[in-house]
Amino acid sequence: MFRIPFLVALALAIAFGGGIASAVWALKATVGFGSIAIGPWVAFPEAQTINADPYAKAHRARAGELLYGGAEGLMFSAQTDDKGQKLQATCSYDVTGLTPQARFWTLYAANADGLPLRPGSDLPSALNSWTVLRSENSNFTIHVSPNAQPDNWLAVRHAGTFRLVLTLLDTPTAGSSGLIDLAMPVITKTGCGDA
């Protein structure tokens, strides 16, 4: 007797439940298609343009961030180290190497939503291309750690996972699809806990 209403309810429940859940999941999981990945670093050079795919447009409308224009810069973010493991706030990491060509770059740590971590005004929470200390061959090594480090220290005071955000300002790479050949700094884990 309740067979037909049950079947209709089942179909509707799957349609609405599945449709809404999959849309929310898709928007949380990624910023859209058209990403470029160099090691763990991911950027979306077309996310702010009219050519962005529907997922990117929906995502940016939900996030409401002020995105960088093509001539302004390109923002890379890394959620994992070079071995593919999530960046943990209790662990220490070394960011080593060179950035692609750019007039300036800035590096800071952010939480899962992309908001910058603010460990306190007395701790170094960010670095840029002017303040970073370099070796003779102009490479740099940045120690991302909850504990104080010599040379370039990026302090992280957070619980759980975090991401690193590297913004290249006025970079020719923003408009180039040949970005895949470029080298980004390497993120290696140096230890966890208080060690």
């Binding site: 349609a15 702010q48 529907p54 929906a58 409308a61 409401g64 002020l66």
Partner: protein, 181 residues
Amino acid sequence: MRKVLFATVLGLVGAALLHIIIILSLPQFTGRDAYTRVLGLLEMDSFFALTSTPGSTGLANDDPYLRAAVCSFSISDGPARFLASGSVPFWSLAVFDSNSNEVFSMNDHTAVNGKLDLVVATPIQLVELRKSPPEALAQSIMVEMKEQDGYAVLRAMAPVDSFEEQVRNFLAESSCEPFRR
């Protein structure tokens, strides 16, 4: 049993349709996209400097070294003109339409003499401006925008703390006004 299977498949097809509809229509009704947030600052036709902590509309300076100012504008009555000058290590400007699509972006190296002087106009207004170019716009960069409403983001860089004041002055003295002959 076969009817249950049929209902499940029908449900999955409906879910796929709904997924597509949600993704495509979401930009129209989130109510927290960047343009709505900029409008929420209630500062039409002038640059509003953002703070480092999220304000009432959730906009903030995300990058620790970049200070941003936003301005919403409308060119339905006439072109909009953006002006800024000063010595900061780096500045950049991006103009977006009301759907947050990039219309134009530039930085201090692509500007004339390192000064910001930009006019955003509709195609018809641009024809008018080109026909009889006003003296004041001799050095300006002209940009065509098909949509009537939009917002601009002006960013300036303070790589070390001693630049804070210069950057603050740069953003405070920048202007975003309707252009009148």
